[in-house]
Amino acid sequence: MQQTVPQPVALSPARRSARRLRRNPSAVWSLAVLLLIVAFALLGPLVYRASPETIDFAQQFAGPSWGHPLGADENGRDVLIRLMLGGRVSLAVGFFAVAVSLVFGVLIGGLSGFFRGWADSVLMRFTDGMLAIPGFFISLLALTFFGAGLTQLVLVIGLTSWMGLARLVRGEVLREREELSVEAARALGASELRVLWRHVLPQVYPTMIVNATIGISFAILTESALSFLGVGIQPPDASWGNMLTGAQNYMYSSPWLAVYPGALILITVVAFNLLGDGLRDASDPQGR
């Protein structure tokens, strides 16, 4: 009698990771929360059409009402629409700053690990040098010097946060370039750059994705801190950070003005961190 034994299905690493991620409740919830926040920021203003800059002193510190569902701020402006538009700014800074830091981190780490030798020495000493300088103060200095604004924020945060990634990528590349598959590709006559691009880098994707996810939360926090200190997004434009700055004078009389942006920053940052953790666990080859 022949028994049908269920064959273990051989899954690709990516699908295996996706399955592991689905089984991680905190990661799934984080992803859901993040989608909600992105929808709030991107789609919210399309539905809820209030003016973020109309000043109405009669409404100063007004509580929730039909006209202002979350109340009004110190200038009598609608808080809800400012949270939505502020969210766009904060998320944009998060994504683009990470994009900048990914480009630099992967480029410098990849080249350094792949070519080794003097290129490695030069690039890694440069990375060490950058790491030795406290990034936040460099950001403060740079923004004071070049002026505040969205583009400057993205560049400054991106350019001061690629070093960790560069080191990780270099380590991975150093390991991967000795793999059999890479040797085989070389033997088949692939050029060095093609080997790096097609055979080595794809192995580094999980590291990049995990790092980027956690990097977004770092970038959002940095944006908040810089805007809080007055060198980030300039009024009357809203960002969660500068809404928090504005609210600190009214902590006793109107605490909710600080609670809304503070809670959004907190939730977004925690969610990105949990998602990042989940992704790391999921992409761990030793993981089950």
Binding site: E74, P235, G246, Y252
Partner: protein, 521 residues
């Protein structure tokens, strides 16, 4: 003993029992004095305590910045405005029993002015340099000599006329006269918690417990008969404004200094508490730099002044503590106001027309710098700047709001790097010092503007020894400044203080500290 005398005794007993606890006034300060030595630069908390221990030559009438005699019964200024003679009150004794005379006054002045004087100040006294140009031997020193004329008269001889000298000396937080004997005994310890502080004032230092309080007792020999009203005065250090208000509610302090504007409602809603507004001796203004082409035209500047809804802004952000008018000088100096000047009329339509007449029918772009810190004259600079920006955008001026680190802000402002900026000043007790700061040659690099007419008026006023003769000149300057609209007055901000149940006789001074000899409860 009949019943009538019995009740009399009972009444007396009750009064005594009631009076014993009520004889100490407890004052909630925001922090500890730096030193009780009047040759150490004073901050607000220091000034409060030293004002009780020391007298100055001249003082301010309660609640005003008008001069009145203190240790000097009268003073005269020579016809060339260079020699000020102070005639001292006689039979005044320091707390240690030594007499106050011209030698003692000279000793104090030499300590401040001459860094090499015996028992000299531990460090150069900045309060002197800031107000009187420099120390002995320095080029900027306004004082040329200090001479004892006789036992009760002293001359201060100036290098050039300086009409504000009286107001400067009246700030007793700065120029209190201390006992030379007490200082010479132990100069190093004088005025510290371990040492003594000996003046002629209504209260004497009993004990300074570092970090906790300063305990003062009544001076029984105070020259003002019948004062002080209370037996003792205790300064407690309560750092946090909300704690000071709580202590006031629970009776832990009788008077609370330096409260926040948004605490006004809480105080007013409590029948036991008495909110007191310290007269506004400050100015918050909007500076316009004529270096920026559109702002070189007075019509544009006036348009900006007329486009700002100053009243709405001040009502909204000062919680009823702010006063808005068209004068740079604060209300306690109202004698120097021109009768023709009230305020810019809020009229966006007219403002838009003025812009068009000046050649900017579509407006222009303007960088407006707001302060990164809170000051009494601008408690919340950012939302105030946003409100101004909204008002200006209504007449077509596109405002970019900017700020930077405070130290850099101040130096960039001075270097004329800002197109428009928010700033102000505090505690200027004389029109001469105020206008010196605002428009004297050399102090207008921030607005790149100069009025020979105004400066001639100021120069002439400086040479007049009679204060009444100076008034028309200052009134003229008031008018010139209003019409020029280079520094647009936004607000004079009163500061909130409060007293608790049963406290009487307290008259807060515009200068930030006052003698408490009249206070009782």
């Amino acid at each position: 003993m009949n019943s009538k005398s019995m009740s009399k005794w009972l009444l007396a007993g009750l009064l005594m029992a009631g009076g014993a606890s009520a004889k100490t006034i407890v004052f909630g300060l925001s922090g500890e004095p730096i030193s009780l030595d009047p040759s150490v630069t004073a901050d607000g908390n220091t000034a409060y305590v030293t004002t009780q221990i020391y007298n100055s030559l001249i003082s301010f009438k309660p609640g005003t910045v008008d001069l009145q005699p203190d240790l000097a019964l009268r003073w005269t200024v020579s016809s060339d405005s260079l020699t000020w003679t102070f005639y001292l009150r006689q039979n005044v004794k320091f707390h240690d029993g030594t007499p106050l005379n011209a030698e003692a006054v000279r000793f104090n002045f030499m300590r401040w002015w001459d860094p090499s004087f015996e028992a000299g100040a531990k460090k150069p006294f900045l309060g002197w340099k800031n107000n009187l140009g420099g120390y002995k031997g320095e080029d900027g020193s306004l004082v040329k000599d200090i001479k004892v004329r006789n036992q009760y008269a002293i001359d201060i001889i100036l290098d050039k006329p300086y009409p504000a000298l009286g107001s400067i000396l009246a700030d007793s937080g700065l120029f209190g006269i201390a006992s030379p004997t007490a200082i010479k005994k132990n100069p190093g310890q004088y005025g510290t918690p371990a040492g003594v502080a000996v003046g002629t004032g209504p209260f004497m230092l009993k004990k300074w417990t570092s970090g906790v309080n300063v305990d003062l007792v009544r001076n029984p020999n105070y020259f003002r008969a019948g004062f002080p009203k209370s037996e003792a005065l205790l300064f407690r250090f309560v750092k946090d404004p909300s704690s000071r208000l709580n202590e006031l509610l629970t009776g832990g302090v009788d008077i609370a200094a330096e409260l926040l504007p948004d605490q006004l409602k809480a105080i007013q809603s409590n029948a036991k508490l008495n909110a007191v507004l310290r007269p506004a001796l400050n100015l918050g203004y909007l500076g316009l730099n004529t270096d920026y082409k559109p702002l070189a035209d007075v019509r544009v500047r006036t348009a900006i002044a007329s486009a700002l809804n100053k009243k709405a802004i001040v009502d909204t952000f000062w919680n009823g503590l702010g006063i808005t008018d068209g004068h740079l000088l604060p209300p306690p100096l109202a004698k120097n106001y021109a009768k023709s000047v009230t305020d810019y009329k809020f009229d966006p339509t007219a403002a838009k027309k003025m812009l068009a007449d000046a050649g900017y029918p579509n407006g222009f772009s303007l960088d407006l710098w707001y302060m990164p810190v809170s000051r009494p004259y601008y408690p919340t600079p950012k939302p105030i700047a946003e409100a101004m920006a909204a008002d200006l955008s209504a007449i077509g001026i596109k405002v970019n709001l900017k700020t930077e680190d405070w130290a850099k802000y101040l130096s960039d402002r001075q270097d004329g790097k800002f197109q428009a900026f928010m700033l102000g000043f505090v505690y200027v007790t004389d029109p001469d010092s105020a206008y010196t700061y605002l428009i004297a040659p050399g102090s207008t690099t921030d607005i790149n503007w100069n009025s020979p007419e105004a400066n001639t008026a100021l120069e002439s006023a400086r040479k007049l020894s009679n204060p009444a003769q100076r008034l028309p000149l200052y009134q003229k300057v008031d008018e010139i400044m209003f019409n020029a609209a280079v520094r647009i007055p936004i607000v004079h901000s009163r500061l909130l203080v409060a007293s608790g149940a049963g406290v009487r006789g307290w008259v807060p001074s515009p200068t930030g500290s006052e003698k408490l000899d009249t206070v009782e409860k």
